[in-house]
Amino acid sequence: MSNNAIHHALRVDYEKCRGCCNCMSVCPTDAIRIRNGKPLIFQHRCIDCGKCYRACPESAIRVEQDDFNEIFKYTRRVALLPSILKGQFPETIPKQRIYSELLEMGFTDVFEVGMMWRVFHLATARYIKNNQDKKPFISSFCPAVLRLIQTRFPSLLDHVIPMRAPVDIAALFYRRQLLAQGVPDDEIGTFYVTPCAAKVSAVKTPNPHERTILNGVINMDYIYNRVWKRIRGEEKDMPPEPLAETLCEKGVLWFLTAGESEYARGRSLAIDGIANVIEFLENMENEEISDIDFLELRSCDQSCAGGVLTSCNRFLTVERLRNRAERSRKATCLKDPDRWDDIDDDTEYLVDHIMLGKINPKPALTLDEDMGRAMVKMEKLQKILAILPGVDCGLCGSPNCQALAEDVVNGDASLRQCIFLQKKRVAGDKTKITEAGKILDAVWGKNIFDGRAIDLEE
């Protein structure tokens, strides 16, 4: 099955990986197999949730990123920041200090993506009003959730609000501002400081029908480490002028759980954590869930505060951001977010230009595109499942018995990889023990006992 159109950002460093297979066990979409002692990611199944990245004790899985020096290809170098970046730092560090360090690093502009929350809110409200038959509405905020729905729950795609992601809206906005000032388009470089792998992949997946508005992504941990080192290194007087516009309370909280659902009209739910999201979508497909108007679904626990590229403890980030939001709330009293009469031309333009066309399904569960062939495979799959032991040990190199059975019918594995069946075959003289050893080596690599003396007598 080819879904080559999806680019994935996770890379395995084979030098560091020692084949412990923690990644395979945690992957919520059964996308990982072990071959030759190393993980192999089935690209069409991966949703870039980053669970495997977190689970790896050797830090052997990394998130591909652009070379930082890429930014210097442009004369205007715009850093687009989710509020989560501020939440990485103690509240005693003024945001001006963080911004000024980004400018020192080489950016010419910094802009808070949270500034776009009202555009997103208004466009959402309008879409909901005009598409009442598509209730319950699912926000397209989180790219990992969007991919989950495309690959595993395509029947629910109709409920997804087809809107650009927050950072894409911010990139569109800022680029427009600069164009209006006369900066040529090809001199503007917009870069997102991303808390998640999912956004990296979304940016890197080419869309031939569209002009680039977001030029690249920089991993948040990279920025955090560089900024934090400098902040700890020296005291600095802050410029009196604010370096970026002040974010209102809602823009700060937008990236946290309930950041959208709080202002949604009607009944809304906010669900975070990929396992929770999957469970909920299963129920939703059965229509067990009714009378809900709006669903905010986020892949990470504590939403973007728990993004895999963040450095600070997610609960602490949430607390810090809540405090920052509280200060913003006291500073500026917020207008009624649902009013349309006080919006400026930019907001109006954006609300009109951020809807996407149809979002296509990318089904990852189908055994074959042709139903007839899928039926033949399914029959074989049922027979295989009936003989597999059902212990889900993972020693075959697939995460569970069901996955091994699917791999066998798809030609991605051999049934002899099951060590229980192997033992039976060896006992019945159907497979030589040396042969069984070779099969095990193909999955786990030849060097699993590398450097260790094994004394079986002891």
Binding site: E285, L365, L367, M371, M375, E379
Partner: protein
């Protein structure tokens, strides 16, 4: 191709397990998403009815070929006395306990009819109930 699943007795938390399993199979077979949706919704209602109204659990049998999906949900009783009446929107004999679980609006069978190309119900007092849902592919 035939598949068989058990429906646990009186366990609302587990109601939906068999329909989810059938749904997974239909996805693997690359059945049209609209047909999957309809079928899953219809089976789910039948499954919940076994949990809510029958004693002793039940069975779900799915038979799928290239033309159609036939799902039979069967239990061992107490059965339905008046089927046309049970089909009326809003008719329900749900116990207070079932109602407290958020069911018992009398919408299950009508919803099943809406989501099935063909619906057959075979039942009688003190007999089991068999609901046969057919959807054409």
């Amino acid at each position: 191709m035939k598949f068989e699943f058990d429906i646990a007795d009186g366990d609302f938390a587990k109601a939906g397990t068999s329909s989810s399993q059938v749904k997974h199979i239909l996805k693997q077979l690359n059945v049209d998403t609209k047909i999957i949706k309809k079928t899953t919704v219809a089976i789910y209602e039948a499954e919940v009815n076994v949990v809510a109204h029958a004693v002793g659990g039940g069975k779900l049998l799915a038979d799928i070929n290239l033309e159609r999906i036939v799902v039979e949900v069967a239990d061992l009783g107490p059965g339905i006395a008046d089927i046309p009446q049970a089909m009326v929107e809003g008719f329900s004999t749900a116990s207070p306990e079932v109602i407290s679980m958020g069911f018992g609006a009398g919408m299950g069978l009508p919803n099943m009819r809406k989501n099935a190309d063909k619906l057959e119900i075979i039942s009688g007092v003190d007999e089991g109930t068999r609901v046969v849902i057919t959807n054409y592919i």
